[in-house]
Symmetry: C2
Subunit: 254 residues, 2 copies
Amino acid sequence: MADPLHARISAELRDRILSGDLAPGAPLPSEAQLCAEFGTSRGTVRAALATLRAAGLIRGGQGKSPVVRDKTLSQPFENLLSFTSWAERAGRSPGQRTVELARRPASARIAHQLEVEEGTPVVELLRVRTLDGEAVMLERSSWVLEVGRLLFEGGFDPDEGSIYRYLLGAEVDLATARHTMDAVGADDLDARLLDISVGTPLLRERRLARASDDRPLEYGDDRYIPGRVTFTFDNARPTTAGQLPNLRILKETS
Amino acid sequence: MADPLHARISAELRDRILSGDLAPGAPLPSEAQLCAEFGTSRGTVRAALATLRAAGLIRGGQGKSPVVRDKTLSQPFENLLSFTSWAERAGRSPGQRTVELARRPASARIAHQLEVEEGTPVVELLRVRTLDGEAVMLERSSWVLEVGRLLFEGGFDPDEGSIYRYLLGAEVDLATARHTMDAVGADDLDARLLDISVGTPLLRERRLARASDDRPLEYGDDRYIPGRVTFTFDNARPTTAGQLPNLRILKETS
DNA sequence: CGAGTGAACTTGTCCAGACAAGCGGCTCCA
DNA sequence: TGGAGCCGCTTGTCTGGACAAGTTCACTCG
């Protein structure tokens, strides 16, 4: 109820698109009609439409009503960090087996990524992640001590829940993340823990999560067995001048 | 000169950020100052700032001036399609060796992706792509006949220029693309053409490019040798309510 | 029957003003 | 000295209006 008007309008329209009430290809009501329906001025309606446009849900040109482009939604921030959140939203059953949770001095590479002195204590976590009981990914995660210490304190069980959900609940300021994708062959550790042979191609996602003031908080290295999980992104040519192309990221099971 | 005012303001501010005139962390001028500087109303200035915010260049909260977040720009639409455009922008020297350019009936898989009947003629292209003379990627590309025929007509040399640049110049309506990343081991063909051994891990990018009315135009399968090219994406938690997280994609050499 | 004109409708752009909400620094008081 | 409250600046939200530019469609004219 306290939400701004334009947010409520865009939420309402988004629901109509996601529910199939407005099918892809169908035109939206004109701005004038929306003004009448919600009892607002045109500027407010246009702010709501701009949100949908940035999300890639609608496409529309001058002179014509905007048209529904797609009903797949870009995934929320948390989904790209949290294996658990993502799997649950995809209707799969996530699980994990914790191999180790350790506090140790940062190696040169980790220290460089986290922008701390080499040898500074960090908290490292190594887990095998499963989907419906089947191993799909090996997660190596290093946290700066300030945040990592929370993983040792009561309330968090590494074999139980989602780290990110726990940390976001503890009001840790996770604001941005950069993900880099490439391919590697399984090393000895990967092979042993994922029960595959050395050299098997793996999709690697390296991740650096930062606080809102850009301090690095976590460096992660996740290696996915191919054929179980894919990363998809959409991009579109800019529509109106000065507008930037819109992007959406989807992490999918296959 | 014919550009809208808000586009000119956002372009001017973007240039100041990219040139380093406004360094990351520095606050932008207040909206009132920008109004005075450009002689416009506040709504116009806010439209310009919204563009920068959607691009992830600035971050800013209520009560405070927006702050420069980053000076890396999301890549334009064409860069994610065209190897040539991307390489040139990255300051590298792209090249290619065309293995075959053929018109043949669509296989079941290609027909399914391009949404045509199996056996419908399509145009298929197989090229080894190089960066500074070094092979980095094997490109398999299948075009619907309507577009692919242009590759046979005069004016296009598959050993010379960029397909996408040529087709966009020919006013082909390439509007959106969906990219899916995973890892595969090199098959016999990959191994022979890229001069690597069978089973070497490769980063695979499958791509479906569509026209603005969503008809598929091209299905591509690009396989990158690891360590030469990576795909990076940034995501951020939404700042203001109702706003969606912003995303940026970077394809990088390493 | 076809081509061209024009009106109605749509979105894009821009303006001027108003109030609410958040932030930061200041003063004043205990 | 330290804290509370106030004030000014900033952005967020919303209104109502105006004109420009693009699309669609029906009508008219040749």
